[in-house]
Amino acid sequence: MVLAYSRPFWPLFLHVLGAMTLFGAILAAVILSGAAWRAPDRAYLRKATFWALVSGIPAYIVLRVGAQWIYSNEGFSGKDDPTWIGIGFAVSDAGLLLLLASIGCAYWWQRSGRPLAGRIVAGLSCLYLALLAVAWLAMSGKWG
């Protein structure tokens, strides 16, 4: 896993660790919501989906703090930033909304058991997983 050159250790380490952990938490939520969708009688799967999503919050914070730390260290100003940074920030900001919306819907699903809530949770989690993949591809391949 050769990840980067000539960057300070801690900010990049925290950013990458947070991103990978967040990906894992959302992956767990996708797996659980898929299983819960197929077996609506199993309430514990809905509860597990909720907690898997909640476990993504600390990972998101670590990812975001690391990102801002690197951004400040490297002297970017928001003017003429490379495309890959823009993609990273866009996914990060939209991702927070997606994560919070998923958690809210998962809570609603856990309490009500309504299939619509389950479909929304599964859809939002899958979308977030895909966006995270786009972000890491853009950032590791330095798109643009």
Partner: protein, 157 residues
Amino acid sequence: MTTVQWLLMLHISAAFFFVGGSVAAAILNTLAVRAERPSETASLLRLVRVTLPIIGIGVAGTLIFGIWLWHELDFGLDAWWIWASLVLWVIANALGGIGGRHQERSRKLAEQLATAGDTSTDELRALLRDPKGNAMSWLAGLATLAILVLMIWKPGS
């Protein structure tokens, strides 16, 4: 994009699969340990299997694209941090395998109990919280974390 950029992108993608898949498996395992009924434990431990192909792709990809990058970037055979990462990669996989077998034993017992009244027993609780079995999975996670540290730090390069 240059060859190195492509390789770096594929290597990091594999790392996301490796670490992310392991985190997902750890979350499912933790939820299984905390479940109330054996049927719930068995069901959550069965879902851990879904993460295995993802981890497998990550494990293979990090090694293949990592060695390729080693060659492309001319790090040389004296780059001890790469050798240390390879050793840790082997350790992480070996310990993860042992931890996985422990989870499989727990799942089989939970499935047996689920069909026989679905009431938890001391044996299942002890197996799920077995410090030795769980230590293997945690140590595999620590070895993976150490690889990540070495890959970002790259001491001596």
